[in-house]
């Protein structure tokens, strides 16, 4: 009898395990899988708000480790037993493999409603559009620029740089005060692409797009010349670039580092550790280096519904509500982030007004895709390491860029 009970218990646990991984049909709240533990409370709040409106809510489940999240999520999409209700991903080339394998639900109708209502500009959907159809909606919508410590700037008498020379002069002044002007880490690897891409697109936005598409080689003389300004920034990074990235931005809040280049989603994390977004932290766009350098990084981090989602129709209803003007106003309020909906929504904080004042919600802005999503994954991963190699030894610039060209040529 004991043996039978034991076996029954084993079957119950093993058989029930897949169903507790993600919410199944009939469960009240949808489950939102993501890799953003710092946003857990904000997600829970957003889920509760939507539930009050339409009776369908969601709870977040966050993975702290990026590669574990990506691997687990990709595999989970293959079966309705394991697929989540919806999940956060990355756009462009990062989401393309999922679209190509037919793993994502077409949400073009939700976009069409949003554009028709005048809430959403059509241009925003570009990075989640494949063969004319959209497969995700925006979650984070981040303008990238320089996030700086206002008190350090005030102490050193630095005004917001409007030109590249002014920016370098500010870095020199900050360095002389025994601080690292620019926050940087190579832990996590993706950070090595940030200033590289910013310097290129602020030199010549078309040069950046040419490097993205492969029409221009990395060893092209014009590209190498532009990269010299990127290499020159290395002396403004901290000596120790091994800190986990989540430990770097607190140093900007404390004033140990003066500036960092990240998306405006960082403001929420900074506020969570006590930064006042009106008085402590400021934002300015990276100044153009030449008149052709008019590109601005826009990062769209989307959320998507798996084709095998157990609660597809309920999730689509939730997405519709998310995309309404009220939904976006609630998003802005809950996450303290910006949204392009309704002509550009920003939280009522000085740091966000800086983004709006820079004219970055206008239709004439030349938005550039972030390097992380703009190129095929193997090339992106390869360049992350190669850029780091140059950051640590600038004499390797020409050889490294040739290596990248060779790698790209070998890619299928």
């Amino acid at each position: 009898m004991r043996r039978v009970l034991f076996l029954a218990l084993v079957v119950l646990i093993v058989g029930g395990a897949p169903s507790v991984l993600f919410a199944q049909a009939g469960s009240e709240d949808l489950v939102f899988i993501n890799d953003n533990p710092p946003f857990e409370a904000a997600n829970a709040s957003m889920g509760a708000w939507i539930k009050d409106r339409i009776g369908i809510g969601f709870v977040p489940e966050s993975y702290p480790d990026l590669s574990t999240y990506q691997t687990t999520l990709r595999q989970s999409l293959l079966s309705s037993n394991t697929a989540p209700d919806f999940f956060k991903w990355w756009s462009n080339f990062r989401i393309k493999p999922l679209v190509d394998e037919g793993l994502l639900e077409d949400v073009s109708d939700i976009w069409a409603e949003g554009v028709k209502s005048g809430v959403w500009p059509k241009t925003v959907s570009g990075e989640v559009t494949f063969k004319g159809k959209q497969y995700a909606i925006p979650y984070h919508y981040s303008h990238w620029g320089v996030i700086y410590n206002k008190k350090v700037f005030q102490e050193l008498g630095i005004t917001i740089p409007k030109t590249w020379d002014q920016f370098i002069a500010a870095c020199e002044k900050i360095k002389a005060s025994d601080r690292a002007p620019i926050c940087m880490t190579l832990e996590g690897r993706w950070q090595s692409t940030l200033w590289w891409s910013e310097v290129i697109m602020k030199t010549d936005a078309d040069l950046y797009l040419g490097l993205v598409s492969g029409k221009i080689k990395f060893s092209d003389p014009a590209a190498l010349k532009a990269m010299e300004k990127w290499v020159a920034l290395s002396k403004y990074y901290p000596k120790d670039m091994t800190l986990p990235w989540m430990e770097t931005y607190p140093n900007v809040v404390s004033g140990k580092y003066a500036m960092t280049l990240l998306g405006d989603w960082l403001f929420t994390s900074m506020a969570a550790i006590g930064a006042d977004l009106d008085t402590d932290i400021g934002w300015f766009p990276v100044p153009s280096i030449t008149p052709k350098g008019n590109g601005f990084v826009l990062e769209i981090s989307p959320i998507a519904i798996p084709k095998n989602s157990p609660n597809k129709e309920r999730t689509k209803k939730l997405f519709r509500e998310w995309m309404t003007l009220d939904g976006q106003k609630q998003w802005v309020k809950t996450f303290s982030e910006s949204s392009p909906a309704g002509g550009g929504l920003v939280p009522d904080k000085a740091v966000y007004q800086s983004i709006k004042n820079a004219g970055l919600f206008g239709t004439k802005v030349r938005y550039m895709p972030r390097w992380y999503e703009a190129v095929p994954v193997p090339l992106c991963e390869y360049t992350m390491d190669k850029f780091a190699e140059v950051m640590l030894d600038s004499s390797k610039l020409k050889q490294v860029m040739k290596d990248i060209d060779d790698y790209r040529a070998k890619m299928k």
């Binding site: 590669s67 990506q70 691997t71 990709r74 595999q75 999409l77 293959l78 493999p97 999922l98 190509d100 394998e101 793993l103 190579l186 832990e187 996590g188 690897r189 000596k239 120790d240 670039m241 091994t242 800190l243 994954v377 193997p378 991963e381 390491d385 190669k386 780091a388 190699e389 640590l392 290596d403 070998k410």
Partner: protein, 287 residues
């Protein structure tokens, strides 16, 4: 029935090994001949993955780093373990010292890696201590400097593994009879002569076991490297195991990752066969 019984007793273990070892190994080997990103239908590509692997500078860098790890694991934790076993033998407080030296092995590799990675930072404990002895201009973020970062991780690994090797050598020393040592003492041999000509030769088979285990463990090293440097900067400290992880779980190129795993498995199997032959030879000598 008597002839079948032994196999019935073996069956659970065989099923376990078959399901969790043989089947995954076979699947990995077969994936190494395919192009597969984990979500698409795999396509046979023959030896393309191996051709890519052997022409990839990252693979050779990881191969040489793996050799560096093997040599480092032999030089550092094995010799220190032997030294500790010899020095503590019959010393007052021997047990207490052995427990202290063995304790790091009881800690998780991840915990050790996190603690040591902070110690190696520019403002970490290592530099705080070094600042008392050397010019501050020579201080570095040690995990950022190639190839010192690999050496730093080998030291961390050695700190963890010395205790285990010490225990194995201590057990080996317990098996050494007293008579040859007494005879050498009576003949007037010094401590170092007894050590060199009696104890160490009689520890030969234990030493072989420790050395081969150290080689196999160092070939498989992953957790310490992943936590401390993620194989960086720019994959300068990656080993074959880390490279395999990169290709499979960052590039989602499971074919490349499986080819890397196959090469690593062949190397580890060769070391394991050698290890097993040493064990059986020891047993033959013992019997």
């Amino acid at each position: 029935m008597d002839k079948v019984k032994p196999y019935l007793f073996l069956l659970p273990a065989l099923l376990f090994v078959g399901f969790f070892l043989v089947y995954p190994a076979f699947m990995t080997f077969s994936v190494s001949f395919t192009e597969w990103n984990g979500i698409n239908v795999s396509k046979m590509v023959g030896f393309d993955n191996f051709r890519f692997l052997f022409s990839d500078p990252a693979f050779w860098k990881s191969f040489y780093n793996t050799i560096f790890w093997v040599v480092g694991s032999l030089v550092f934790p094995v010799t220190l373990g032997l030294f500790a076993a010899l020095m503590l033998y019959s010393l007052p407080g021997e047990r207490l010292f052995k427990v202290i030296i063995f304790m790091p092995y009881a800690l998780s590799g991840v915990v050790i890696a996190i603690v040591w990675s902070y110690m190696y930072k520019f403002e970490g404990a290592i530099n705080t201590i070094l600042a008392g002895f050397i010019d501050k201009r020579h201080l570095q973020p040690w995990l950022q400097i190639v190839p010192i970062n690999t050496l730093a991780m080998i030291i961390t690994y050695g700190w963890r593994m010395t205790g285990t090797n010490m225990v194995l050598f201590s057990v080996g020393m317990l098996a050494i009879p007293d008579e040859p040592i007494e005879a050498a003492r009576i003949e007037g041999a010094s401590y170092f002569q007894i050590l060199r000509k009696v104890i160490i030769p009689m520890l030969a088979s234990t030493t072989a076991v420790v050395v081969v285990m150290a080689i196999i463990n160092s070939l498989n090293i992953f957790d310490i490297i992943w936590i401390m440097t993620q194989g960086g900067p720019y994959r300068s400290s990656a080993t074959l195991g880390v490279n395999m992880y990169f290709e499979s779980f960052l590039n989602f190129n499971f074919g490349h990752g499986a080819a890397n795993a196959t090469v690593l498995s062949v190397i580890v199997m060769a070391a394991s066969v050698f290890y097993i032959r040493v064990i059986f030879k020891k047993r033959e000598i013992g019997s």
